[in-house]
Symmetry: C2
Subunit: 215 residues, 2 copies
């Protein structure tokens, strides 16, 4: 797939750049801190020390030739917004940027960033659901739709899904099942939920949450 330029090698940017590299995508990673750049040399396709708010530096690095860019600068709002603005000016087609607040995100959108992400904010909400409920994971797909990882309620253990009729009774669908020692496989009408299983359940948010609370 197309090469990606990643600016900002904090924890989020580093994880992103490493994962892209691991998946075979060519990455040009830029950070102004030499120590950070040195520690990642060899782990990312190309890592360079540069100031991303300097348009000439970006040009010299060949950034205008990139189709996609990620601005992963959080704490320094000025650097984040300036860098994003330069990416728009250099006509990068697909710009992603991290925002640390709603306001920060709004500014980034207004200057032309197509995809704004809120890593700490989104993870805070996700972990809040895990902490306050019995679910093992919670993913909000939409404002009203969610996917959760949870254990089967006792009353449905040992019953084939086709008989449990979870959709009619609870408005939820079991998507996949993982038995101890095995991997996740998709659920069918014949799938019998086991006591130690972990299940992926989808449905409207309130309904999957309630389902996860069943003993």
């Amino acid at each position: 797939s197309e090469p990606v330029v990643v600016v900002g090698l904090g924890r989020f940017g580093t994880s992103l750049a490493l994962e892209l590299t691991r998946r075979g995508t060519e990455v040009l990673a830029i950070d102004r801190r030499p120590k950070v750049v040195q520690s990642l040399a060899g782990h990312i396709t190309h890592v360079v020390t540069a100031d991303s708010t300097d348009i000439e530096a970006l040009r010299q690095l060949g950034v205008p030739d990139f189709y996609r860019a990620v601005v992963a600068i959080g704490g320094d709002l000025e650097a984040s917004i300036l860098t994003a603005s330069l990416m728009v000016e250099l006509e990068i087609d697909d710009i992603w940027a991290k925002a640390i607040s709603r306001q920060h995100g709004r500014i980034l959108s207004r200057i032309g960033v197509q995809h704004v992400v809120f890593p700490e904010h989104d993870m805070g909400e996700r972990v809040a659901h895990m902490v306050s409920g019995r679910m093992l994971d919670y993913i909000e797909v939409d404002e009203n739709f969610a996917l959760i990882k949870t254990r089967p309620p006792k009353e449905y253990v040992g019953v084939p899904l086709g008989e449990s009729n979870l959709r009619r009774k609870h408005g939820v669908t079991v998507v996949a099942v993982k038995s101890p020692g095995e991997e996740f496989t998709y659920a069918t009408a014949d799938t019998e939920l086991g006591y130690g299983d972990v299940i992926i359940v989808s449905g409207r948010t309130e309904q999957v949450e309630r389902f996860a609370e069943l003993p």
Copy 2:
């Protein structure tokens, strides 16, 4: 559900404490920065200024009575580990802690933290999949199983899922479908994918990734 004590009101901790409060869970939030505490007073059940590495302060705040705690301190490793260690000492049953590196996470687990989360790292990986592929979202459920949000490949538009036989051909399952202007609803054999639809697809990681790349 049980009250939760949250230590550390950075972006992650704040988002978590606010989401818990919004969902009706009682929260005691602690941060040593008075400004942060003041800005959140009234938005979280209880917010107090205190040093979480001071066991007496925690006792005075009634922390030992809590069943669950979240240590949301990232940058200050010493404060994170000391605080987590005190939570274990105060016999909090269910401790969650944010870690900013594998090493940090290992230490937290060793001292007795039951749930270690890596917000920036996990989001970095998630966004890496969104940036490098055509998918709209990517959630890793397990090392080998993933859920993605994507658009239907052209060849399956206008065909009922029962006929598309995606499981046999691509090893993936369409979990839910969202048509423009509508909400997500679970997919059935009769569901016909439309051109502007967004679909949630589950399956083994490589298979859902390949499916998302179909034109």
